[in-house]
Amino acid sequence: MMESVLILGAKSDIGKALAREYARHGYDLILVARDAGIALKDFASDLRIRSHRSVILRDLDILSVEAHKDFYFSLGKRPAGVICVIGYMGDQTTASSDFREFKRITDTNYTAVACFLNVVANDFQRRSKGFIIGISSVAGDRGRKKNYIYGASKAALSAYLSGLRARLYPHGVHVMTVKPGFVKTRMTMAMQLPPLLTASPEDAARQIYEAQRKGKDIIYVKGRWRLVMGIIRLIPERIFKAYCNF
């Protein structure tokens, strides 16, 4: 039987590009999203035609954390890898005064995702194999005025993945953190993005696949973001708080 990859948040442009990339390399797919059965029906047909791989669609709202375990163990075949693309930018202004929005950002990016990955991690550890990829963000590398609530939840995810990596390493399970800078997706389509720092979803997917094959720990998409964030992190807080208004 072919190995399969489970993609959480498969409706996003990065999720779709990853699905195409992994199918192209011979993986079967389990695509998970809210109302995946309806929203991804055509996309699944397309994947099957292009790649002759099996594609299974499953509905899940990641915020229904109680359901994660049953959901995962009802999948039938257990995936060889799990990629979580789910994310929620939210509205920072609302979130600074409205707890529900704050909680939704934090839960979607961190709490609920981590809950799901706990289930996966336990399973992979038992089986001593598998890979887990979490899509975090450069926003988690340093809290910025414009999006620190989102950034904080991504920072939590990055820290979680880092610990999980150390825990699973001796068991032969590979955990990779992906930190995209700008990706031209539906989330960012209306924004003017700097071309040199912006990747297409297809570029991102290719880069993620390659890095996973090579067993990388943390990658930036595009790679030059590593340098950019390295510099941004070095700016002393005194200056950062006063002058860095991005």
């Binding site: 929203a39 055509d42 996309f43 047909s45 397309d46 035609i49 915020l63 209306a190």
Partner: protein, 446 residues
Amino acid sequence: MGESAPLIIKQKVRDFSAWGRYPRVDGKLVSPSHPKGLGYFLKSGDTFIPLGNRRSYGDSALAARMLDVRPCNCMLRFDTDKGLLHTQAGVLLSDILKTFVPRGWFLPVTPGTKYVTVGGAIASDVHGKNHHLDGCFSKWVREISIMLPGGQVVSCSRRKNHELFLATCGGQGLTGVILEARFYLKKIDSCLLDQVTVRTNNLQETFDAFEQYCNMPYSVAWIDGTAKGPKTGRGIFTAASFMNGGDYDYRPYGSMDIPVEFPPFFMNKALLTGFNFLYYHGARERVSYQQGIDIDTFFYPLDRIGKWNRLYGRRGFVQYHFILPKGQGFDGILEIMREIGKSGISPYLAVLKLYGMENENLLSFPMEGYGLALDFKIQKGLFHLLDRLDNIVVARGGRLYLTKDSRMNRKMVEKGYSGIWQFRRFRRSNDMDKMIQSLQSRRLGL
């Protein structure tokens, strides 16, 4: 939370153009994440034009509001027995090739670039190097599903909503948004071709080559636009057919992009003459045979240089693509080449093709005869020259290809396309004319 509403993203675009980079518009690009999102948009009542991959040359896909169909890019079903493929309209031909050539299938008809959408291929009713035998793209289309300006989705074919089918194939997006299509692929025995190349000394020899090799499925001639006098119409004729037996190991080329816009003086006469000279003399013997030419080399030579349109500089270019009935072909083309010669303006690329029978679509370009496509950099005196060429084309019963056009006038399109009156009536009686408009449809009153 339930189902999220179908998403429509609106983006302001500036200096937006199609392949010829002329004309340019500022407008809004509207993209749906799902065909259903289009329905919401159409109900808003704003005028628009559907947009594919912008490989048309002129203004047929340009307007203040453009509806980007490319996100609808799923292949839905393939019937291996019949070779029938069902896709959404935003699927690129290049994706179809990548998927199906390795399984022994090819496009029944393909234009000279593979970066066009299925919707664009239908809306321009494109033709390829095999038109003389296999007709236009629409010939291979079994059914189209289309969203009318009111938002309702209907299907049309030769049997159902026939007039809508005739108006949509070649209709330049003016009847509605093509959402899906079912069309046939063609079986091939190999992904390689055998080719014959003939170097000709004048137009007569070029025409003779077309006649001599008219049973070869694919043929085309590049004409040396800079040759004058008795050498007028000399060029390189190529014809090819797929090999029998072989493999399907198709490896699409990557393309190299022209990274920047070139200064306007770049494509100048000296360069042009040099290029044409080298190309022409590149073929050493008069007739030569090549085996094992791959698909990308034969069908899509220009795709190897991505964004080559930037070579023409900021002002852009036009492709003057006309066709003349067979009896008028030879004299007509000579007359046109002479008229161009007199003007001192040279075409950069000239491609000649023998066409087969005309079809019944209201605005399809091909008719039985000879068609010539000439690329001109935008420059002083060009539009006057093209007006003079228009007169010659009309006088000889020919017409211009709408998907390449950015400047012809109403008289020209009315003389060239006898189906235009029915097309206009059809649009008016279905309220399409008020909702769907491109710069071209306004200029030409389509």
